[in-house]
């Protein structure tokens, strides 16, 4: 084993994450290499020192109190109160809460694609990844995709409906190039991923992955995934507005 490899693996050794075979290899290397032995010793001591002082924090009482008020207790969560919550919420919430949506897409493949859209969404929020073409003008964003994709993704102006167009981006979903059309509502980013689809138009369904909401649907031979951290109701509103606008644009 070389020092380069050992210098990374010794951390796994310290953390008890190595299997017996690799642990022996790292230890054998450290036995014959003064530099790695010193590092191993030093990092062990640093870890001990770190665990010896309380570098964690205790949650403030104000936070405990707020959560205590916000979260129903077992006793308070009567059937009636829960049902009241349903009728007050949207149909989307009720469907999500009833667990019906779980029946819509359970296949691993589809789950994987959902995870990919979430990953792509999160990636897009990092520096310089949000848009490749930045414009609030649909007539600038739409042509930008020409020649970059095997589909012509529809870009519609939803400013009047409260969703600002930020631009477009090339992304990858399920191993294929996909259009990402980026909208904003208040401080929230919505990524609308579009790929070529098959089959008849299919109505929207809502999914939740890692606390993010995803509305997906098929329309005009395309697959759509709208991903955002805005609440499910607003994301449904976005999806409905987009579908309606697209429908009207094509006069179908």
């Amino acid at each position: 084993m070389k020092c380069e490899e050992a210098s990374v693996l010794l951390h796994a050794l310290i953390d008890g994450e190595l299997d017996a075979g690799h642990a022996r290899e790292v230890e054998a290397h450290a036995a014959s290499c003064a530099k790695c032995a010193a590092e191993l010793r030093a990092f062990r001591q640093m870890r001990d020192a770190l665990s010896a002082v309380p570098v964690g924090y205790a949650a403030p009482q104000s936070l405990r109190a707020k959560l205590d008020r916000a979260l129903p207790t077992r006793a308070r969560a009567s059937r009636r109160e829960v049902l009241k919550g349903f009728t007050a919420g949207s149909a989307a919430t009720a469907i999500a809460a009833s667990g019906l949506f779980l029946m819509v897409m359970r296949k691993d493949d589809q789950q994987r694609i959902l995870n990919e859209t979430v990953s792509a969404h999160l990636r897009s929020l990092q520096a310089d990844h949000l848009t490749d073409v930045q414009s609030s003008d649909q007539h600038t964003v739409k042509p930008w995709f020409n020649g970059r994709l095997d589909v012509a993704p529809p870009v519609v102006d939803l400013t009047a409906q409260g969703f600002t167009l930020l631009g477009g981006r090339l992304d990858y979903i399920n191993g294929r190039a996909a259009a990402a059309i980026v909208y904003r509502r208040r401080v929230h980013v919505i990524n609308l991923f579009v790929t070529q689809g098959a089959g008849p138009d299919r109505a929207t369904t809502v999914q939740t992955v890692q606390g993010l909401n995803i509305w997906l649907w098929n329309q005009q031979g395309l697959n759509f995934w709208a991903v955002s951290d805005i609440n499910a109701d607003e994301l449904q509103e976005f999806s409905e507005k987009f579908r309606t606008a697209l429908h009207a644009n094509n006069g179908t």
Binding site: V8, L10, H11, A12, D15, E17, A38, E39, R41, A42, Q45, M46, R47, A49, L50, V53, V55, G56, Y57, A58, A59, P60, S62, L63, R64, L67, A70, L71, P72, T73, R74, R76, A77, S78, R79, E81, V82, K84, G85, F86, G89, A96, A97, G99, L102, L122, L125, Q126, A127, D128, H129, L130, V187, H188, V189, T208, Q210, G211, L212, D229
Partner: protein
């Protein structure tokens, strides 16, 4: 966020959420402190994390509650950071590992010796807080939240190999910063 959250459907589950999630509040808050950098934003982020977790409790399939909460918290914090559309979360380029400064030099006092001299809580906290975001989060998840590499990989949505390389780099950085801090201490 007025009124009680009432999304999860099953009465039993509603009660379960408290029992399963609230014991992790200190740890969630600790991660939030290190990700957000101050008490008030950390409190907001931790609160949002719990409310979001509760709303999505129906889709929670277990078994480990802690990593699940952390993953949600991390999203909450990333959105908070991205809010002004500066959208900068990564403080420094993460890869590649382009020649880290040597962890110790043999001609000085041994690092172990220096290290053990003094380690008060505030200094330690500051040194961790000063690490670039990507390194800070793996250090906190590993050293303070005590998670396995596999859990950390799931939370930061990266392969275990990335966790390992990032953690080794993070510890080297922390160690250098620590030795430097001790040096200042000695001079003053």
């Amino acid at each position: 966020m007025a009124g009680r959250a009432t999304n999860p459907s099953d009465e039993g589950k509603v009660g379960q959420f408290r029992d399963l999630a609230l014991p992790h509040l200190d740890q969630v808050y600790t991660l939030a402190r290190y990700l957000m950098g101050n008490a008030s934003e950390a409190e907001d982020a931790a609160q949002e994390c719990y409310l979001r977790a509760f709303r999505h409790f129906d889709s929670y399939r277990g078994p480990a509650m802690k990593p699940w909460l952390f993953a949600i918290l991390r999203n909450v914090c990333r959105y908070a950071h991205a809010k002004n559309f500066g959208l900068v979360f990564t403080d420094v380029p993460v890869e590649p590992d382009d020649g880290v400064a040597p962890v110790w030099s043999s001609d000085s006092e041994t690092p172990e010796h220096i290290m053990l001299r003094r380690h008060d809580t505030e200094t330690m906290r500051r040194l961790i807080a000063d690490l670039p975001a990507d390194y800070r989060e793996v250090i906190v998840l590993r050293e303070i939240n005590d998670l396995s590499y596999r859990d950390i990989a799931a939370i930061i949505d990266s392969p275990v190999g990335t966790v390992m390389s990032r953690l080794s780099r993070a510890r080297a950085m922390l160690r250098n910063a620590w030795i430097a801090a001790e040096g200042e201490e000695i001079r003053t």
